[in-house]
Amino acid sequence: MPLEVLVVEDSSGDIRLTREAFRDVNPFIHLEVAHDGVEAMAFLRRQGAHLHAPRPDLILLDLNLPKMDGRQVLAMIKDDDSLKTIPTVILTSSEAEADVLKSYQLQANCYLSKPMHFEAFHGLVKSINDFWLTKVKLPQNEQGDAPELSIHTGPERSPKKSLGTKSLGTRRNNESDRRKRNGH
């Protein structure tokens, strides 16, 4: 099963390097790109052209982006009950202590600074793959739309957030979802 990685990055050069590096280190990765923060949120919320967007297993998020910057995207992800479990790694050229600290305050899963040189960048992508996409246990069951998770994960998970379309169980939740959505 391919791993879905969402890269939120405005620099076309960096997008290309990231794509090439992932292609080298792990052919099972399916890379999606959002070019600014607004597009990233539309992708994550499956809005507009992103209606059928997959749920990412990992997000690589730049900080300085047009329209809506990475700090704001991070805050929105980590404040949203259905998105907060997606590991979100800051990948930015900023090495400012204030950016590092602020990102961890906003509950970034980790902070990486982009190296200048191509080989080092390639090595970093390999590290991300070996660590996040190989060794770390990712929240598998929330991939796609398994609404049954809302049963044992407690009251804080609001059913309206599980955008389930292909119900695997808990029809009840899906029906209330549908009702809510139709009501809008």
Binding site: E95, Y104, K135, V136, K137, P139, Q140, H152
Partner: protein
């Protein structure tokens, strides 16, 4: 500069294995051990016997522990403005999906299940060391505090 790692773990066997694995992986790591959640919170809040405890650069947290379990410790760390920036890695025998999801929901930085085989455990500690203590940029609360008063006035104790 030494890197401070807090291991929150009740199994003496696992504590010993982790210590040995860190010794092999990185000489600069100073490993501190808390054997349950209450002990861990006292360490992090520098209370009682831990008045002079260093701020950890990384916390490795087991989930199932006596007195206060890892979920509660994680929730407290990630709800505390001064502690939430400490990367907190879940390291547990549990592979249950609900433990994984609820840990990420509580803002665990990442989740690992402990491998059963010794070599795999050693290699996991090396992986954690190589990524978190070498590749990742860690926050420096102290540094930012020290940077603010450029006029050389007191840091306000």
């Amino acid at each position: 500069m030494a890197l401070e790692v807090l291991l929150v773990e009740d199994s003496p066997g696992d504590v010993r294995l982790t210590k040995e694995a860190f010794r092999t992986a990185n000489n600069n790591v100073r490993l501190h051990v808390a054997t349950d959640g209450v002990d861990a919170m006292a360490f992090l809040n520098q209370e009682g016997a831990y008045a002079n405890a260093p701020r950890p650069d990384l916390t490795l947290l087991d989930l199932n522990m006596p007195r206060m379990d890892g979920r509660e410790v994680l929730a407290r760390i990630k709800n505390d403005d001064s502690l939430k920036t400490i990367p907190t890695v879940i390291l547990t025998t549990s592979t249950a999906d609900e433990d994984i999801v609820s840990s990420y929901r509580l803002h665990a930085n990442c989740y690992f299940s402990k491998p059963v085989q010794l070599e795999d455990f050693e290699s996991l500690v090396k992986t954690i060391n190589d990524f978190w203590l070498t590749v990742a940029k860690l926050p420096h609360e102290d540094l930012t505090a020290a940077v603010v008063p450029k006029d050389g006035k007191s840091l306000g104790e």
